[in-house]
C-alpha cells in the first residue's frame, strides 16, 4: 500500500495532541498523521481532521485569517474524507448563536444554540452547562464511519452549544435537555460533536473507520 497523509489542521485553537495520539493508535502503518498549519501539507493531505475548541468567534476568526476555510473547501470539492470534531463540527454549520451570532462555513444548513441554564433531570438534579461527560448516541443512518458502533454506545462530550438535529444530515442524535446532533454527515464530510479521541472504545472505532474511509457515504 502506498503511503497516505492525514493532516490535523492546527489553526491555533486548543489541544490537538489527544486526537493525534488516538489517530496514531488506530492508523495502519502507511498512514502518516501530521498536526500542521502548513497550507501545502494540508493541500497534499489525503484526508483531513478539522478540530476546534473554545469560542466559535475565535475559531472562525482564525479559520478565516489563516485561510483554513479555503483549504477545507478545496478538500471537500476534491472529495477528500474530512472529519470535523466538536467546534470543528459547529464551524461546518451555517450559523452559531454564540458570541452574539457568528456566520460559519455553511456546509450544513442549521444553527448552533446554547443549552438552557437551570434545567433539571429525572432525579431533580441540576443539568449543568457545559454538557460534560459520557452520553448515549442514537444512530440514525448506516454510514461507513459507524461500522462496529451500536446505537446507545456512549461517547464523551464537553460543550455548551449544540446543533439542531436536522433529519437530512444527522447521523446520530444525543439527548441532554434537548435532542441535538451528535454526528452529522454529507458526501465526504463527517463531523462529531463528541470527542471520539476520548471515547474509548466506540470513539476509537469511529477513528479507525475514518482513517480507512474512501469518502463515499
Amino acid at each position: 500500500m502506498s503511503a497516505t497523509l492525514l493532516t490535523v489542521i492546527d489553526y491555533g485553537m486548543g489541544n490537538l495532541h489527544s486526537v493525534a495520539k488516538a489517530l496514531e493508535h488506530v492508523a495502519p502503518d502507511n498512514v502518516h498523521i501530521e498536526v500542521t498549519d502548513n497550507p501545502e501539507r494540508i493541500r497534499e493531505a489525503d484526508r483531513i481532521l478539522l478540530p476546534g475548541v473554545g469560542a466559535i468567534r475565535d475559531c472562525m476568526a482564525e479559520i478565516r485569517r489563516q485561510g483554513v476555510d479555503r483549504l477545507v473547501d478545496e478538500a471537500i470539492r476534491d472529495g477528500k474524507p474530512l472529519l470535523g470534531v466538536c467546534v470543528g463540527m459547529q464551524a461546518l454549520l451555517a450559523h452559531s448563536l454564540e458570541n452574539n451570532g457568528i456566520d460559519c462555513m455553511n456546509y450544513f444548513d442549521g444553527e448552533v444554540r446554547r443549552f438552557r441554564d437551570g434545567a433539571v433531570d429525572a432525579h431533580g438534579l441540576p443539568m449543568k452547562v457545559p454538557h460534560m461527560g459520557w452520553n448515549n448516541v442514537e444512530l440514525k443512518v448506516d454510514h461507513p464511519l459507524l461500522a462496529g458502533i451500536n446505537s446507545g454506545d456512549r461517547f464523551y462530550f464537553v460543550h455548551s452549544y449544540y446543533a439542531d438535529a436536522h433529519p437530512e444530515y444527522t447521523a446520530a442524535t444525543c439527548d441532554y435537555d434537548a435532542t441535538f446532533a451528535a454526528m452529522i454527515y454529507r458526501d465526504n464530510i463527517f463531523a462529531t460533536q463528541c470527542h471520539p479521541e476520548k471515547s474509548f472504545p466506540a470513539g476509537l472505532t469511529l477513528l479507525n473507520n475514518f482513517v480507512r474511509w474512501n469518502g463515499q457515504p
Binding site: N15, S18, K21, A55, L125, P130, G133, N136, V158, Y176
Partner: protein, 252 residues
Amino acid sequence: MGLAKRIIPCLDVDAGRVVKGVNFVNIRDAGDPVEVAKRYNDQGADEITMLDITATHEGRDTMVDTVSAIAGQVFIPLTVGGGIRTLDDIRTMLNAGADKVSINSAAIKNPDFVREASQRFGAQCIVVAIDAKKVGDHWEIFTHGGRNATGINAVEWAKKMDDYGAGEILLTSMDRDGVKTGFDIELTRAVADAVRVPVIASGGVGNLQHLADGVLEGHADAVLAASIFHFGEYSIREAKTVMQENGIEMRV
C-alpha cells in the same frame, strides 16, 4: 439512557511514580502510572486525574513524559494537576496529551490566571481545584494541604471561578480528606447548587454508598476517589454497580 455521572480515580505521582501505593491483582508494578492508568481505563473509569506532588524541577520533567506515555495508551479524559502556575505550564501538559489541567493555588494568588487560561485554551480544559474547610457556619479555602487559611469563602470563590471561565470545579473537603466517613455533603451541595459548571466531589470516601450520596445528596456531577480504589478494596465496576442500584446513570 442519558448523561452518566462520572467516577474518577485519582493518582498521586511523585517524580514519575505513583505514591500511596496501588494494589491491583495481576499488575507487575503498582508504582508505574502508565500501568495503573491503563488498569483503571480497562476497569471502566470515566476519567483519570493525576496529581503531581513532585517537589523538584527534574521530577516535573518526568511528569511530562508520564503524561505523554499515558496519553498514547489511554483514550479517556486525563486531567493533570499540581504545580500548574503559568500558561506555559498548561501548554506543556496539553502538548504532552493531557485533556484538562487542574489549577489550585495559582488561582488564589491571581484569579485572572484562570480567566487568561480559559480564554487561551478553552474552558473545557480548565479545572479549578478548591480545598475547603468548615469555619464556623461556612467553608473557607485552605492551601498547603489544609494548613494555611486564606479567609476566602469557598462557595463565593466557586461562583467567582465559574464567572472567570472555569470549566469544572474539583471540590475537596479538607475536613474529610483521608477520614473515610463520606463526602462533606453540605459543602458539596452548597457549591454544586451555586455554580453553573459541573462539580467533582472529593475527600472522605470510605465506601461505595458514599459515592452515590455525593451525587444524590451532594448534587455532584462526578466523584473522585483514591484510596478505596488503590488498595483494591473496591473496583470501579463494583462502584458503578452500587451507583446504578441507587438509580444513578452510569457508563458500564
